[in-house]
């Protein structure tokens, strides 16, 4: 439940989107642009690597609900390796 000093009058109508992160680990080259530019800091480098030795991104434990489907990771990824889809909550 979110608490506001003054409740916005359209709080029932406007909802913050929620997103599910999808990753294609074999395409990732570990450039970390998605990690760096995510406005909600949802991502971090994995410990494991893909077949080429790159650390692909993973959702930080505890941040599973934080993705707001802004799609910035998708538009900034040079590798076509990450995207999000909207989820209903």
């Amino acid at each position: 439940m979110r608490v506001f000093e003054r409740t916005p009058i359209d709080i029932e109508k406007v909802t913050v989107p929620h997103g599910q992160v999808y990753i294609i680990p074999e395409r990732c080259k570990g450039c970390e642009m998605c990690v760096e530019f995510c406005p909600k800091d949802v991502l971090e480098n994995s410990v494991s690597t893909n077949a080429k030795g790159y650390h692909y991104p993973e959702v930080i434990a505890g941040k599973e609900g934080a993705c707001i489907h802004c799609e910035f990771c998708m538009v900034v990824c040079p590798e076509f390796a990450i995207f999000t889809e909207a989820v209903e909550v």
């Binding site: 991502l43 993973e58 076509f80 390796a81």
Partner: protein, 277 residues
């Protein structure tokens, strides 16, 4: 909402040749970002996919033609623009995009670049400028900033680079803009605009090249070069700049100006297709 789900296909795999991924570009290279913007622009352009043609030259950016799932022509070094000219004149219904790099378009291809702009022929040109010849290992090129280093300029580049927007504006292009790979939305917006704009349209996209340019110039990786763009870039609109300002000089403390620099409506080139009355 859960942890990341691992999949094998990307939503854009139909318009790019998803079966050829991962592509050959280095970690941190910005060409993939420009290509992604172009792929979505093609899908949203309202022009049927079979009418889109991509022509590219030699170099890392030139490989884009092979990764787009459209009719594509990967020509010789410097010659995508005249090849695209032939395609467009022979079949005016085609939407022809030239997608190539700074060396390919402005050095060996320089003559064709200025003549196509002079003619104002209906070609959409996307020039990814990473300030060097990346594919061949990081040699300097016509857009390498002065005193920057490259494998053929180990003591620093003694030459001044092209100011591409100034060059294209003077040559007669109808539309000239510059963005960097961090300007995701503006880049794609201009690509969509280009598809609707007749005449010669040119977008310069500054891009990180961590192995070719960054390594010789103390830029650690692609991410750091993106941060540099974020720090140094400044939007300008018509009336807020003169073309001389648009040169890029890393030795001086001046911003890198981005934005739409030329947007005019001169008639696009039309060959004489029937004997005038």
């Amino acid at each position: 909402m859960a942890e990341a789900v691992f999949v094998e296909k990307h939503p854009l795999d139909e318009i790019i040749r998803g079966y050829r991924m991962p592509h050959i570009w280095c970690p941190g290279c910005g060409i993939g970002i420009a290509m992604r913007a172009f792929a979505t622009a093609v899908l949203e352009s309202g022009i049927p996919e079979e009418k889109h043609v991509v022509v590219s030259g030699i170099g890392c950016t030139g490989r884009v033609a092979g990764y787009m799932d459209l009719d594509s022509y990967h020509s010789t070094h410097g010659r995508p623009i005249p090849l695209a000219t032939g395609l467009k004149l022979a079949n005016p219904e085609l939407a022809v995009t030239v997608f190539s790099g700074d060396g390919d378009l402005a050095a060996i291809g320089g003559n064709h670049l200025i003549h196509a702009a002079r003619r104002n022929i209906d070609l959409k040109v996307i020039c990814v400028n990473n300030f060097n010849y990346g594919m061949t290992g990081g040699q300097v090129g016509p857009t390498t900033p002065v005193e920057a280093r490259g494998t053929t300029a180990p003591y620093g580049n003694p030459e001044l680079p092209f100011n591409l927007p100034y060059l294209l504006a003077a040559s007669g292009a109808n539309f000239v803009s510059r963005w960097t790979t961090i300007h995701i939305h503006e880049m794609k917006k201009d690509m969509l605009y280009m598809f609707k704009k007749p005449g010669f349209t040119f977008i310069e996209i500054l891009s990180p090249c961590p192995i070719g340019f960054g390594k010789s110039n103390n830029i650690e990786d692609g991410l750091q070069e993106m941060e540099l763009y974020r720090e140094h870039c400044q939007f300008v609109k018509e009336g807020e700049f003169v073309f001389e300002d648009l040169d890029i000089d890393l030795t001086k403390d001046k911003p890198i100006y981005v934005g739409r620099f030329v947007d005019r409506d001169n008639p696009a080139f039309e060959p004489i297709r029937e004997v005038p009355a």
